[in-house]
Amino acid sequence: MKSKTDVSLTDFRKETRAWLEENCPMSMRKPIKVANDFYWGGRNPKFNSKDQKIWFERMLEKKWIVPYWDIKYGGGGLSQDQNNILTQEMSRLGCRKPIYSFGISMLGPALLKFASEEQKMKYLPDIVEGKIWWCQGYSEPNAGSDLAGLQTKAVDKGDYFEVTGSKVWTSYADKADYIFCLVRTDFESSKHNGISFLLIDMTYDGVSTRPIKLISGKSPFCETFFDSVKVPKENLVGKLNEGWTIAKYLLTHERQMIGGIGETDIKKKLHQIALENLPLINGKLADGILRTEISNFEMDEEIFDLTIQRVTDEAKTGNNSGALSSFFKYYATELNMSREELILALSGSDGLVFEKNYKSDGNLARKFCRSKGNSIEGGTSEIQLNIISKRILGLPS
């Protein structure tokens, strides 16, 4: 027998599907291909097509930009089940996200948990409406894996903080309006205890950026420099010197995102790519070794997806371990890197094309290069393995 909620969820699914089919422009149902396919919002919003604008505005009006946030912050007030349904239905149609935003995926969750009500009211609705483009300032040239060793300092000058230092790997810092930053506010205490979480307007005097070019070519990554930047005290989120708690919370969150929790992208199966590229003998790939490697990869890929499901289902029954996010981040990135290696292997010399030519757009080789960062960004694989061994297995230091 179906319960009342089941019935109302079935209705919700039906209505959602109908609404999406009617309102999502066809061009917004195609896979993201180039940078212009993303809409980021910001103070100087740039829509790259008419449909992109229509899609964003319709979703905004429907309150589905951040469907699961509270209505008072501009969210849609959907339950977790409803939100899951919306995500599934969007992925079924292939709908793009109406806006890509670190405000939604990263800063928002931190504000909801740690900010004052006043700050929530000030920042969250702007995130929903896409008015502010946020970027993240965590890593520093000398604080990568040892993130808590960060040295960008914010000195208390009475009615403001004076921030000096530099951040690295700040995605889109050259385009963003605001940065959420980890800064050192106490130089005496142990390194984890002197960190604060600060919001800095990128137009403040003394802020500058420089893009970083990767082995894959152009990238959204930047370096960001702070030269005696005056930041109002009200821009501090959470308590002074307790920013590490927020940082840890966000890192867990980030690992879960990288680890694929809630991911909806459907990737082409590796064996399909193989079948398009390689000859068969007696119905089997002629290259027996590659066949084994693909089969092994697809085994792990499929079971990893089942593991996301199992752990999500267990979490619903109250069985939850935050440290598992390290396992997800570690495994998902290692898998993706194996995938890119295999794609390169089974594309032969065509896969090596780096600049557009008659055969290829050069994306394969660039994606391959880019994947080398997967096991580094968001905490290296080694850092994740450290966390598993200490926090889950309880191995001694």
Partner: protein, 373 residues
Amino acid sequence: MALIISEEQKMLKESAAELLKIKSPVNSLRDLRDQNYVPYDKSLWNEMVEMGWTALIIPEKFNGLNFGYLGLGQILEETGKNLCKSPLISSCLLSSSVINLCDNEVLKAREFPLIMNGTKTMSLAIEENSYHKPYDFRTRAKLEGDNYRINGLKTFVIDGSTSDEIILVTEIAEGEIGFFIISKEQKGIEIKNNILLDSGTYSDIKFNDVIVPKENRLNIKINGKELLKDILAIAYSGIASEMLGIILESFDITVSYLKERQQFGVPIGSYQALQHRASKMFSEIQLCKSIVIKSLQSIDYGDKERYKYSHLAKAKLGKTIKLVTNEAIQMHGGIGVTDDADIGFYMKRARVLQQLFGDYNFHLDKLATINKY
């Protein structure tokens, strides 16, 4: 379908863990072996019968518990953890499943009560080679009047030495497969027992003009080939459950040892070289847990993809059990290769389970074949 076990399944698992911890610690395997390879502890088997384990997958119509394979899998995981020997795999997982999925109602009514009350155990004879090749039959059953005449050789028969009856899978005619119940007392049966790496007894059974009445055929109208496919899926997933138990326990024992064992004045578990390997094993184990639940569940719900999931389970568990048992011995150092330590028994049982019903390579090949490449 949520990928978790139900409250009832959890209770069943906990009661199994409790019983086996007291009655079947690893040392009892050592004792059985040292008493000239006693196949299993009969009094413990009687307790298992009393707990209802022999009735788990038998339908309510025959007074069984109809608890499903995810339920039986929980028990097998626990027997794996304790390296407990019993006819659970041969009699309950394999033979009962064959009888249940066949359409000989007379034999069901006759055999199920005896299997459930533990007075009869059975073994399934499938393999004919020293490696898993389930559709490659050289045994033949030829219909002669009201009887079948059977000739051929079966190998690697689990508990062949102790079972009362054999369920034989054989070709009847080109492409037609029959399942028969045959008493071991039948004239023309020759049994050779082998003690394998895990201290278990496995048999080669030769059939020399064995005459079996028609009534003993289990599949009357049901297509034997389709049936065998389902029995294999059950075998792969069930064996994977026991493998999961072995993986979990040998990993646990090893992590505890890393915390205990001191060298250079510190616990060896403080060294990153070992920590990272342990964390990698932990990660692979997360995947093992998921696929074992999924494959058992897909059998219980008649999911069309159950065959694929069973290959995934046996492949993944086969690969991981090799990794974990090898690392377990290496991380134990010298003590790990002594007979005094328990960890070696896990590695030995693991190798037998890896080979039973196909190793990692076999199942990886099947997965590729399913996807037509």
